[in-house]
Symmetry: C3
Subunit: 302 residues, 3 copies
């Protein structure tokens, strides 16, 4: 089975666009009464990681303005941070959230695919694979505190977690909307969604590139819980406490048993998947389409 990002000449305005061009005027502040004993884990600019030594819970905050796009740098930093936590036995669980207003993550950074060498594209795609392999295969308890919109790769990040709490805000949406942009989610995005919401909803959602409102996302099981926006992080922390009460070794094996077949499918196809992506994305017609799309974004911004 093969599926990489592909294109169509036609573009529609989508949630993706509105995110990129969104007026991000009011920030959000994270009070952190939950992390009394802080051990600053990383001072890198794109992701802030705080591991609370009291409870073993790490908070990963995406702080890459304006919309936490998954650039090569972001993905590399994410993989390194998660790997560190994975190897740290004092870390029991990871909460992923955004420090940017109104957006969890806008997904893959399209600039990494525009006018780049095949080598760069391959490196980028490998980083996307690694992010997924590390997060979907993590032994830690992972909880997504979805405090903003979460299209495409942002939705994938959320789906990789063990539990998803989303802000009950009608302006936020989540979904694998690649099709709306004329591209196609690769097979492991599809597998992750099917494991979350089932075959039929995935078939419909991927074909239409659906962005679900928070309410719709809850209804189909794409997220597990909606809470008022200012309670997303505290609810994630409370939920984490419940998950950490479970015998850890048994929980890890159960998680692995559920996810291993899906992970093995990409592991067995990493190189062909990269090749396919590079062949596709470096095509003249695709590059032209991406260029037109970026032009459109620029015009809207100005």
């Amino acid at each position: 089975m093969s599926s990489v990002l592909r294109h169509s000449a036609k573009f529609t305005t989508s949630g993706f666009f509105s995110l990129l061009s969104g007026n991000c005027s009011h920030g959000r502040t994270f009070a952190s009464p939950y992390f009394v004993s802080k051990n600053r884990y990383s001072s890198s600019p794109k992701i802030k990681v705080d591991l609370d030594s009291n409870n073993g819970v790490a908070l990963m905050q995406f702080q890459s303005p304006p919309v936490n796009s998954l650039s090569l740098d972001f993905l590399t930093e994410f993989a390194i941070s998660l790997e560190k936590l994975e190897l740290d036995r004092s870390c029991k669980g990871v909460i992923i959230t955004s420090a940017q207003p109104k957006v969890f993550s806008a997904g893959l950074d399209i600039l990494e695919m525009f006018q780049k060498s095949p080598e760069h594209c391959a490196e980028f795609w490998k980083a996307v694979q690694e992010m997924w392999l590390k997060l979907y295969g993590s032994n830690k308890v992972t909880i997504a505190a979805i405090n903003g919109s979460s299209p495409a790769g942002g939705c994938l990040l959320a789906m990789c977690c063990d539990y998803r709490i989303m802000a009950d805000n009608p302006r936020y949406s989540i979904g694998l909307n690649e099709t709306q942009l004329g591209i196609v989610a690769p097979f492991w995005f599809k597998d992750t969604m099917a494991n979350t919401v089932g075959h039929r909803e995935t078939e419909k959602g991927l074909q239409l590139g659906l962005l679900y409102s928070a309410t719709e996302a809850l209804k189909i099981g794409l997220v597990d819980q909606l809470v008022p926006e200012d309670q997303v992080l505290s609810t994630a922390t409370e939920t984490m406490t419940k998950w950490l009460a479970i015998p850890d070794h048994a929980r890890q094996i159960s998680k692995s048993m559920m996810r291993k077949p899906t992970i093995d499918r990409l592991l067995a196809n990493k190189e062909p998947d990269i090749k396919q992506f590079v062949n596709f994305i470096t095509k003249d017609s695709i590059q032209k389409s991406i260029g037109m799309y970026l032009e459109m974004l620029k015009r809207r911004k100005s």
Copy 2:
């Protein structure tokens, strides 16, 4: 895995019977304001195909009295019509509906399996396979406008589409009710249902040969939407407009990614599946059972 039509000595009266013997006194008329610029595609008697050159939407109306049974002729005509549309780049989507009152399609024509040569039975079964392969694997957007009951093969036709709109009429039902007739849906019917409503509902539905009311069908996800009977076709047309707004190439690849494994399973087993069907259906005991069933139908009609 093997599964073909099989039998049991016991027959129960079922929705299937009531369809065949139904009093089809009042017809239904299809006003067609939606197809201003008509290009009559086929003048064949069993299926009326109109391709609207304005929007690229083809309307396939089943008009094979009394109940749009899927005879060899019907299936052949259906496959040819769909193949023509598939190859026609001006056609973007296909709406399937019935021009017969109260029934979408009653499913496979049992007469094609009664007192026929093994060669005929093989030809018939191949036609059933081709219908499924073409419709489930279609690159076009396919929408079922289910304006009547839709048991067995009729339900399969509907499940092959990308979206299902059903008349909100408590007298209409839909489901793979083969078991009620003492026969068994083949594995690819089963796969199609499991892809639509999941494993558990399929297990229960196939074992009991359940015919779901429109309301129940919506609840389990066998259909996507219920509308008043006189709005089925207009809703299908409106829905089609939304689907056609999606970049076509990306949508096609997404659809194929979801359905290819299921399609490949039959492609790898076409001949064994035909052999198994023929071996089974030509057995004396089965022929006798079918004969008794047809006798019962006759008596009920008179």
Copy 3:
């Protein structure tokens, strides 16, 4: 893929515990107006089997105080009883229920895994496999009349049936809660749950070792119907009548078509699955953990 019972040093108090230590003071009596013509099938102490020659329905009542633990003796008796019914053409369906108050079955008997020889452990695990293979693969209509709590192996028993009716009692719960005890459900427990409630709910339920209340179990599809406690058995009998109205041969083939792939997975891995279990359970650390757990149970009882 590998998964056997595994452990964690940490134990939490769980539903399992409360069951084992439960004050089972008031019994439940089974009036049996439904079994007029009784043919006492087995007089064994742990399971009472009554086959009603009038309708071909066998009632299997678990009567192994205090909580119908699945000991080697119980499992052996269960397999023999079911095998007898399976070979008895006059038997059409089997209703499984409990004669003990407040519990359907508490699951695998932990004493069979404590301070036992590798040979004994292997024998025990083989018996668990056989129970599952026979019940999940049964040709008869099987209905679980869940008149009490049903954790772990008890939940598995229920999930193996074709239909599940549970007492609408907020004090009863059901689920594969192995993780709560620091152990892990094997892959075929997991497959059975995924076939019943889907991938996502299984992933969450297994990781957390969730015990669902009757209401929750209905909502996620873990059981099919809730009725007042005194109507569980009568509803099971009425439901059985509907299932027995379906042509039997066709129903059997449909059932087999749905379950065969799952059954084949264990059949292909019986020996490795046993070896893995024995290797694990006979480890000193595991034996120590089980010992501590049993000590805790003793202290709570006294």
